[in-house]
Amino acid sequence: MGTEWKITSDRPIYLQLTEQIVQRIVSGQYPTASRLPSVRELAVEAGVNPNTMQRAFAELEREGLVTTNRTAGRIVTEDKEMIENIRGQLAAQKIEEFLEGMQLLGFTGPQAAKLLTQYAQLHPSLEEMKSEELPENKTSADKMEGAL
């Protein structure tokens, strides 16, 4: 299943939801031309108000990432180029954040890049490592039953 929903308390919730759904789309968790889970399902999964989730969906539609088909529900766009563009933009943001953070530690751009490459070489299968750390595949409801 993949990522969990993270909601912080200072920004509008629907914006955070929008971002996280975009993340899921660009990472392929919701593949192109696939059907999105319903508003209700995702709202329950994220533990948020369905109207707020609805607003997030509306944002996605506005941005053209998602279209509403009367019979088939909400479909992720087939426009792979757009998705790749967005992916690129988000990646650029992450890189900027990384570089700014490294600058605060006193590293220059090239130094930071070198450290990054070294690190990636030392830990060749970041993918594998990441999947080891991921928590077991549980929905929120399952967790509750376990806890109760």
Partner: protein, 233 residues
């Protein structure tokens, strides 16, 4: 979709000399989850009881689906008070059948499901249950209805976090465009994500009624933080 599921006009309640509620004007549509937020003693319970017809207003009016509190509004409203209302001669299954009998919108299979998922037995006598279990039973019979208006008075108050999650999860899965849930609480951080709109109640007066998103955008902080500022002692 009913834009005016709940309409309060100048709703006022006096207890002797104490102003419990003053001039509340509020219109809530259906398909919303609304938080009724305020410190203890701010009039939240009084407000909910007025909607229910358990007490009569001293001034103003309250209409549910266009009607004053009475038999019809009782049949479309599901009320969870912050007290125990269970009687002691019934068993759990008796209480469920009781609700099924009196409320046409009661979902019997769903109630049994909820009993099971909470690990409760249906044949135990209500008076032998622990406090936490009684609260769960009360929650079940309240939420197993397809009511148009749910009034929950401090549902997550004295409850452990796992049960709290279960309650919020139940509210979300119960959600429908035709129904509205009003949750009164002073524990905002836990439920803010679930709310559409909030009402601030201070000393019986309604000081704010807005959507959660608007507040976050406008104030740049969460409702919880705003609440702490507004109601600082």
């Amino acid at each position: 979709m009913n834009e005016k599921l709940l309409v309060c006009s100048g709703l006022t309640k006096l207890f002797g000399t104490k102003q419990a509620l003053t001039g509340v004007d509020l219109t809530v549509g259906s398909g919303k989850i609304v938080g009724l937020l305020g410190p203890n003693g701010s009039g939240k319970t009084t407000f909910l009881k007025l909607i229910n017809g358990l007490i009569q207003p001293t001034g103003g009016s309250v209409l549910i689906d266009g009607q004053a509190p009475g038999v019809y509004t009782h049949s479309i409203t599901s009320y969870l008070p912050d007290r125990m209302f269970l009687n002691d001669w019934m068993k759990v299954i008796d209480l469920i059948r009781f609700f099924d009998d009196f409320y046409s919108d009661f979902d019997f299979p769903k109630a049994m499901d909820m009993l099971q998922s909470l690990g409760l037995s249906s044949s135990e006598r209500l008076k032998t249950l622990s406090k936490g279990t009684k609260e769960k039973v009360q929650l079940i019979v309240t939420m197993a209805r397809k009511a148009k208006l749910y009034l929950l008075d401090e549902p997550i108050g004295g409850v452990d976090p796992a049960a709290r999650d279960y309650i919020l999860n139940t509210i979300l899965t119960n959600y429908s465009e035709d129904s509205t849930v009003i949750i009164s609480t002073h524990l905002i951080a836990d439920i803010e994500r679930v709310l559409d709109e909030i009402v601030f109640l201070k000393n019986g007066e309604m000081t704010l009624y807005d959507t959660v998103d608007n507040i976050r955008e406008r104030e740049g902080k969460s409702v919880d933080q705003l609440f702490r500022e507004v109601f600082a002692c």
